[in-house]
C-alpha cells in the first residue's frame, strides 16, 4: 500500500498551496500551513525512498487507466532521491524565509502570495520528479516555472522586473522547444509514455531519432543552464530575495539535469540509434565548466559570483551523464545531491552576510569574521565544500567523476578532466577571495583605503543598490535554518559510503532499460 505515497508527494504541497491561499489574511497561520505541508512531504518522500530502495520502483497508473492511455507516475531510486532532497531543501529554505519575513515585517515578501506560490513551486518539482510521462513532465515544468516567475519578480521593483523579463522569455523559449519536441516525438512514435517511448524510439531511423534527441536536449539545456544557453542565469537569479535565489539555485537547474539524465539513460541510451551524443555532451560540459568559472572569477558581487559557480558546476554533472558508465552515473547522482545542498546553503549564508554587512559586494565588505563569527563559519564550510577540499562531499563527488572519466580514457576525456580540475581550483580561488576580503580583511584596512589588484579589476553588479545597513539583525531562525543545512552538507560526507552504495544501485537501475519498460507497460515490447 506504499503506492499511495507517490500521489501524496504531489498532493500535500498542492493542497497546502490552496490552504495557504485561502488563509491569505491570516499571516501567522500561513507559515504554519506551509511548513506543515513541506514537513509532511519530507516525511513521505523519505519513506518512499526507503520503500523504493528495498522493494524496487513504484509505478502508479493514475485513475486506473492503464499505460499507455493514462498518465503514469513512476518513482525509482533516482526519482525518490531527488524527491527527498528537494523536500528537505524546500523545507530548510522555507524556515529561513519565515525567519526573514518575521524580522523584516514582510518587506522582502510583501504580499500574501509568497507561501502559496512557494508551495506551487514545490508541487511542480514533485510532479517533474515523479512522472513517467513526457507530457506530464512538461506540465510539471510549467507549474514550477510559473511559480518561479512570480517568486522572482516578488515586490515588482525595477531590478526584479528587468531580471524577470530575461528569465521569463528564456524559459518560454525553452518550453517551446520542449513542447515542439514532444509533438514531434508523438508524431514519430504515437505515445508520450516514457517507458513505451524507450522501446519505440529505439526502432526509429537514426537520423529521426537524432533530431528528436537534440530537440529535447535543447529544451532541457536552457533549463539546466548549459553553455551556450547559460547566460540568462547570472542576470536573473541574484536579484530575487535571498531565500528565493537559494531555492532556484539549488533546485531549478537540477530539474533540467534530472531531465537530461532521463533522456540520456531511458529515452536515448548510447546503444540506441541516434542516441550517442557522448562527445558533444562532453564538450558542452567542458565549456560550461570553464566559461562559468571564468565568469565567477571576475565578479565582485558574491551573489553573482555564486550564480556563475552554479552554472560552472552543472558541467560536472553533464560530464558524468556524458560518460554514461555506471561509476559516472553513480557520481552524477551523488554530485547532484551534494550540489543542491551546498549551493543552496551558500546562497542562504550570503543572505546572512548581506544582513550583517549591508551589501554583497566584496569590495565594500570587511571584518565580518569579528563581527559575525557564526555567519563566517556558516559561509566557510560550504565554500570549502564547493571548492572541493577533502574531506567534504564536493571532493568526493568530483573524485568519483574524475575516476569514472579516467576509467573511460581517451584524450578528449583527459582534456575534460583537466578542465574539471582547473574549474575546481578556480572555484576555490573565487570563494577564498570572498573569504579574504569580506571576512578576513579588517575594517580599518578598508577605511585606510585598501587597494589590491585582486579586487580592483572586478565587475560590480549593475543592479546593486547602495548599502543602507538597516538590516543589522540576524534572526535566530535564519541562522538556525542555514546551520541545519550546513550540518546536512557535512552529513553528506559522513554518510558518503552508504550514499555512494545507494548511488551505485541507482546507476544500475537507471541504466536498466528493460526493467523500466516491464514495470510500466507490462511486457518488454511496449505494445
Amino acid at each position: 500500500m506504499m503506492r499511495v505515497l507517490v500521489p501524496l508527494v504531489v498532493l500535500l504541497p498542492l493542497l497546502g498551496a490552496g490552504l495557504a491561499l485561502m488563509l491569505g489574511r491570516m499571516r501567522r497561520v500561513q507559515p504554519v500551513v506551509s511548513i506543515g505541508a513541506l514537513s509532511a512531504t519530507t516525511a513521505v518522500s523519505s519513506v518512499l525512498l526507503w520503500h523504493v530502495d528495498t522493494y524496487g520502483a513504484v509505478v502508479i497508473q493514475v485513475g486506473g487507466w492503464e499505460a499507455p492511455w493514462g498518465i503514469t507516475l513512476f518513482v525509482d531510486r533516482f526519482a525518490a532521491i531527488m524527491l527527498l532532497v528537494s523536500a528537505v531543501i524546500l523545507l530548510g529554505v522555507l524556515v529561513y524565509a519565515v525567519g526573514q519575513g518575521i524580522a523584516d515585517g514582510n518587506r522582502e515578501t510583501p504580499v500574501t502570495i509568497f507561501h502559496p506560490t512557494y508551495l506551487m513551486l514545490a508541487t511542480g518539482l514533485m510532479v517533474a520528479f515523479s512522472t513517467g510521462d513526457l507530457f506530464n513532465l512538461y506540465v510539471g515544468f510549467e507549474i514550477l516555472l510559473g511559480s518561479s516567475y512570480v517568486l522572482l519578480t516578488l515586490g515588482g521593483t525595477g531590478a526584479r522586473i528587468r531580471a524577470g523579463v530575461t528569465y521569463v522569455v528564456m524559459s518560454l523559449v525553452s518550453s517551446v522547444f520542449f513542447l515542439s519536441a514532444i509533438a514531434m516525438i508523438y508524431g514519430a512514435t504515437g505515445t508520450v509514455n516514457m517507458a513505451q517511448l524507450a522501446v519505440r524510439l529505439g526502432e526509429l531511423p537514426a537520423h529521426t531519432a537524432l533530431l528528436l534527441h537534440v530537440m529535447l536536449l535543447l529544451g532541457f539545456a536552457i533549463k539546466a543552464a548549459l553553455f551556450p544557453m547559460s547566460f540568462w542565469l547570472p542576470d536573473s537569479y541574484p536579484t530575487a530575495p535571498a531565500p528565493v535565489t537559494a531555492v532556484f539555485a539549488g533546485l531549478l537547474t537540477k530539474v533540467g539535469v534530472y531531465a537530461i539524465v532521463r533522456t540520456e539513460t531511458l529515452l536515448f541510451p548510447n546503444s540506441a540509434p541516434g542516441g550517442n551524443l557522448t562527445m558533444p555532451l562532453m564538450w558542452v560540459a567542458l565549456a560550461t565548466m570553464v566559461v562559468g568559472i571564468l565568469g565567477a572569477a571576475v565578479q565582485a558581487d558574491i551573489k553573482r559570483l555564486l550564480s556563475f559557480t552554479l552554472v560552472s558546476h552543472i558541467g560536472y554533472m553533464i560530464f558524468g551523464v556524458a560518460l554514461g558508465t555506471q561509476l559516472g552515473l553513480n557520481s552524477t547522482v551523488y554530485y547532484v545531491v551534494h550540489h543542491i545542498t551546498v549551493q543552496t546553503t551558500l546562497f542562504l549564508a550570503v543572505g546572512l552576510v548581506e544582513r550583517v554587512g549591508g551589501t554583497t559586494s566584496i569590495s565594500r565588505l570587511s571584518g565580518l569574521l569579528k563581527r559575525a563569527p557564526l555567519v563566517a563559519v556558516l559561509f566557510f564550510i560550504p565554500a570549502l565544500n564547493l571548492g572541493g577540499i577533502p574531506p567534504f562531499s564536493g571532493f568526493l563527488g568530483k573524485a568519483g567523476l574524475l575516476v569514472a572519466g579516467a576509467q573511460v580514457g581517451g584524450w578528449e576525456v583527459w582534456v575534460v578532466i583537466g578542465g574539471a580540475v582547473a574549474t575546481s581550483l578556480l572555484t576555490l580561488y573565487a570563494l577564498m577571495r570572498v573569504w579574504n576580503m569580506a571576512f578576513w580583511r579588517s575594517r580599518a584596512e578598508v577605511e585606510a583605503g585598501y587597494r589590491s589588484r585582486y579586487i580592483d579589476t572586478l565587475v560590480e553588479n549593475p543592479d546593486a543598490e547602495l548599502p543602507d545597513g538597516t538590516q543589522a539583525t540576524t534572526p535566530r531562525l535564519m541562522v538556525a535554518a542555514t546551520a541545519g543545512l550546513v550540518v546536512l552538507t557535512l552529513a553528506l560526507t559522513v554518510a558518503a559510503g552508504p550514499l555512494f552504495a545507494l548511488g551505485d544501485r541507482t546507476a544500475v537501475e537507471i541504466a536498466d532499460h528493460d526493467a523500466v519498460v516491464t514495470a510500466v507497460v507490462g511486457d518488454a515490447h511496449g505494445e
Partner: protein, 157 residues
Amino acid sequence: MSASLPLILLMAVLYASGTYVLLERSLTRVLIGFLLLGNATNLLILIMSGRAGTPPIWHDGGDEAGFADPLPQALILTAIVITFGVTAFLLALIYRSWWLARLGDQGDALVLEHEEDQKLAEEIFTSTSEDDDAIHDVLEASEDEGEATEDAHEVHP
C-alpha cells in the same frame, strides 16, 4: 501518416513570424511572438495527430478505425491553458515595467509608501482601484513635471 498541407504551411509561417517578432526589443512584441510560437506549436501537435476523423466516442456499431486521435487534442488543450496563464503574467509584467519606465524611481517609492502603511497595502491587495488612483496621481504629477523639464519623463519606444 498523412497531414494537411495548408496546416503545415500555416504552422511554418507562424513559427517564422513568431521567432522574428520574439527577437524584437519591445516587450509587447515579445509577447506577441510568444503567442505566435505557442499557437504554431499547438498546430504542430494537431498535425502530428494524423488525419481528421470522426469524434472518438465509442458506441455499438461505431467505426473505430475512423476515429480522430483524441490524445493530441487533450495535449493542445493543456498547452493552451498554460499559454494563457503565462500570457496573463507577462502582460502584468509588461504593465509593471511600463509603469516603472514611466515613473522611474518614483514608481518604486510609491510601492514602498504603501508597504509602510500595512493597512493600505492590504486594501490594494483586495481592490485594484486604489492602486489605479495612485498611479493616476503620480502620472499627472510627472506630466506636470515633464512639461517643465522638456518631456524628461517621456517613455522611450
